[in-house]
Symmetry: C2
Amino acid sequence: MTSASVQNYLKAIYQLQENSETVTTTALAQHLDISAASATNMIKKLARLKLVRHSPYHGVELTTAGEKMALEVLRHHRLIELFLAEALDVPWELVHAEAEKIEHVISEDLEDRIANFLGDPERDPHGDPIPTKAGTVERPEYQSLLDVGAGQSAVIQRVSDQNPEHLKHFSKLGLIPDATVDVLSREPFDGPLRVRVASGREHTLDETLARAIWVTPTVEKKAYRAKSKSHV
Amino acid sequence: MTSASVQNYLKAIYQLQENSETVTTTALAQHLDISAASATNMIKKLARLKLVRHSPYHGVELTTAGEKMALEVLRHHRLIELFLAEALDVPWELVHAEAEKIEHVISEDLEDRIANFLGDPERDPHGDPIPTKAGTVERPEYQSLLDVGAGQSAVIQRVSDQNPEHLKHFSKLGLIPDATVDVLSREPFDGPLRVRVASGREHTLDETLARAIWVTPTVEKKAYRAKSKSHV
DNA sequence: TAAAAAATTTAGCCGCGACTAAATTTAGTT
DNA sequence: AACTAAATTTAGTCGCGGCTAAATTTTTTA
């Protein structure tokens, strides 16, 4: 039986690995809100368990076994998020915190029943892909809303679930997965972004907020022109 | 924040108090499957927290505060049991083990949503009363199936959820809450009991099994005669 | 009622997963 | 290349909630 702590560390390492190749002790400690010394301790334990490779002073990396465990926890987490939203109408910004605790205590059997209830879904309410039972995940390459040029449209695919306040705000603004946004303007130097949502309402998003939204740009005339230009 | 351990101790003490006035260290230790020394340790901690009164060498008793907490845990437990059975079709004999873990990690908000989803139910799938949010519980006085005389009928009100094997067996036999059973015969010296269920099938129950089933006798001619006799 | 048995508590230990303070290694200057 | 700053690890501690062995109290029995 692997403890909730071990599961949380593996999950955190997995998520940090999604952004940067190598995961540092400090990044891990910050992500989990613990001291760096505590992180080192646990890293050594995980290395003993062959769940991570530790290159002292240089970082940590999941082994195949470690990644498998991380994906199991993530599967639990995301299934539970979706289940709470669907079955109990738990609001978007609350499902993460609730799933964070429940993910460690459900049985395989209950996991299967939840997945079945939901029809083996592929995404959680924030647009994060749900790992399969077999231990595989999609790794779609989305673009940050920050990097969408003025005049372009994009479809929201994923919204980071790290900050409940942000999520609450996003849902109020209609910035949820599958929604289309038009980027109206962009201030220089990572300044705020002006967007219009499907309802026609316009909103301003600062850098931090825009960075939490991941999109695929919609293909439209402007984009085509830009593309043909670059070919000349 | 009170730990899962503390919650489990309080719940165990509450349940033991339902049967015997005073709860001994040994009974508590056996119920929780830990050593008596560990139980003493925790009892002293609970006494410091003013959740129990401890009379050394003589036993332990919940304070008002302790009972309130025990009932909160029990409410979680029983709501979760019913929810898993209703929403996910988790079989009768499995909901207890699952609820045993989840009960410690759900928020008040989730508790409320589950209760609402279920329509503020009064009983869990085994017939145990669900404590109210306010911290009150029904304490129905049922009779053990063991004490029903041959020739009498009874309606099952509650089945002890302590043993999943027994539960599985009971459900196969149709011995579930609200079912009617006719007691056909009873061997002396706590010997086995012969019963007929609504479907017409007949089954034999040994003492341990019969002790786990709680009923209210149905009022029929024999019972009336007995009653009028005692008035003479 | 005294001795034996059973129950309970005390004393001391352990693993887990946090922590701080201090030592060490690495990376970034100048 | 040497010095400094930052990152990381080591050393040592703590609370939690288990444990065993030994001491103590209560209960039972002879």
